[in-house]
Symmetry: C2
Amino acid sequence: MDANLKSPAAGSDRIVIIGGGFAGINLVKKLRNSVYQVVMLDKNNYHTFQPLLYQVATGGLEPDSIAYPLRKIFHGYKNFSFRVAAVSNIDTVLKQVETDVGLISYDHLVIATGSGNNFFNLGGMSRYAMPLKSITEALDLRSLILQNMESALVAPEIEREKYFNIVIVGGGPTGVELAGAITELKKHVLPNDYPEINLERMQIYLIEASERLLAGLTVSASEGAYKTLTGMGVNVMLNTRVQDYDGDLVKYGADKQLKSKTVIWSAGVQGEIVNGLGQEVLKRGNRYDVDAYHRINGYENVFAIGDVALMSTENYPTGHPMVAQVAIQQARNLGQNFLRQRSGKSETAFKYKDLGSMATIGRNKAVADLPGFSTRGRFAWLIWMFIHLMNLVGFRNRVVVFINWLWNYISYDRAIRLVIRPFKRNTH
Amino acid sequence: MDANLKSPAAGSDRIVIIGGGFAGINLVKKLRNSVYQVVMLDKNNYHTFQPLLYQVATGGLEPDSIAYPLRKIFHGYKNFSFRVAAVSNIDTVLKQVETDVGLISYDHLVIATGSGNNFFNLGGMSRYAMPLKSITEALDLRSLILQNMESALVAPEIEREKYFNIVIVGGGPTGVELAGAITELKKHVLPNDYPEINLERMQIYLIEASERLLAGLTVSASEGAYKTLTGMGVNVMLNTRVQDYDGDLVKYGADKQLKSKTVIWSAGVQGEIVNGLGQEVLKRGNRYDVDAYHRINGYENVFAIGDVALMSTENYPTGHPMVAQVAIQQARNLGQNFLRQRSGKSETAFKYKDLGSMATIGRNKAVADLPGFSTRGRFAWLIWMFIHLMNLVGFRNRVVVFINWLWNYISYDRAIRLVIRPFKRNTH
């Protein structure tokens, strides 16, 4: 029982946290050396800095510099234990979670599992499109982009087009950032690697269903991103829906189609829920319906924070945006409330403080909506880099990322174009 | 035909090189912008700096910083083409190689495929032991070491021993360097990550069949390595043969056995030969029998260099050592001979200049046999680091490796202890 965990000390409670993302790690930090016994479960032994996954996928950063061992974050925490575990079910009656390393009991349970891909029932997309939510997905995409260049090189002329075309579905930050990064690969890196290929033939498409890119940002930022991307040569299609994809052919709009072996899905995410709670606690986007204190509707001791939680407030009637800042602030608020409970104080309701949004598009190119002002171009780009560097976990990672960025900037290179494990389409 | 390669210019010959290791890349460099058309084939799109694989396996370096895109090495070479291709057969009559991207014809063929593992018909070892010849094998070993720590943590007491024990078979440079690196992990890194585990229980065994470690070095270096490792707490067994391994139990010596889920094979390598030449050209260790000009016995236009070649000379009657320096010098000699042929000059026979051997054992600990003198300790360790840094391919890689070494030295850390893709035993 309890995967060899010690029992909580007398008078102490055990808080089990599922997920080591931004929400999970900030909650543990808040509870450092408190009276609670804190147990974190994650299927990986590392935290992923998701905002930079697209740079791993495009050869600009090593995967290892945006991942950080979870155990290391919490060195010296006396009340903390970690287990690599995949959770299969929650039993709220017995107050235990069922995992592949055994049953683990809890007094308070916090679900911080984040989000996965939502393919909106487009079966072909879920089978053949490349998502970008994890390190392994980023590595698969990096491999595929490079493998397709190699395939284009040796394919008969009539088969080459599908290897050249890259289609990105979804014009949110991930889609915009990827489109920019792949365009820079095409412009600065691939011509030197593939002098035998006419890279004009490599076309990058960004397909967005709504009327603007970066829907979470201001209209001015959206327009800036649109102008920058089209100026770089990206084929941006707004008000356009993809219909289907069979691994070779993307159908979109009314009856249009494109040949492509590389379709990247960045059009939708949904809560990564865990079995065991009823359907009635799920709201739009597969997110848990929580109150202002992060309690899942109808459960006393089960909480959800981050992407997987949907808290309906006056300012955010359909829930907060699924971004790191919300997860971090919710974790801190929930941690604070756990501490207040212990001191007999009342809990404080969560209130989100919007620190702004930004997206980078390329070299000296970014858009940023910050509290009080919006900016574009090199200044936005510098702010973006600074904020991302500061938020990376670990000093070594910051140094290595900084050096890579410096290198990439000076040399126009993306040095890490390695196919370490070739991507095989049938693996997902 | 020819995987979309252009035909060689009139009056020019095509040299096809199989393998992008030390031998292959140095041959291409020697032939830069010569009259030859040079085509390199490799199953990977990158060169691997094998001497540092053990540091990837033990979390000290990113895999991406010891790999380098092959295309990038040869930017600006006007007579060079590269194809990612797995070679299945050589047809010396039609003068073409058969690959997974089609037939590729040659005028001169150079086999520089290096070496793979030789398990000496120990079936259990070949199935269950972990080799360390490639980046993916190093990543698998890194994952397994960490996964076994996690398994030890949740296993019932009677099952824990096999997760703690690490057995390294073979006391050459790889075995010695791994034993040292894993011992430093155990001493400096794992105690902070696993405060719940008594790490005295983690035992590291190094089993060597001959009477000394580092058989390629001087007796004094061997004794130095032995003393250093035993002083660090490694269980070194000399004159000991492993008999079998079933994935849980290693049998060794007359009738001894050890429980272990982590057995690392560094006891033997053999030439990585290609189908199509007769058995009669193979000598001991599966290496091609070549003359003083690297020509495979009985073939006019087929050469072998590096680990896969066995050239019997007065000083090296059973062939040169299978190390990078031999491969590099052979490649330069063969390249020079190709150029001399064109100028109507006679070929020069290969003569190996031994630049020395060294092995690092840990922090400030190494042994080095250099021309004219031998040394041990911190000075040998500094030389080892300097030479390896200088021989890494790529400025960015050198900077990133240097920073990681600095970081590891100052912090006693091995930061990259990530299980990106969990190792599953049935995958090989």
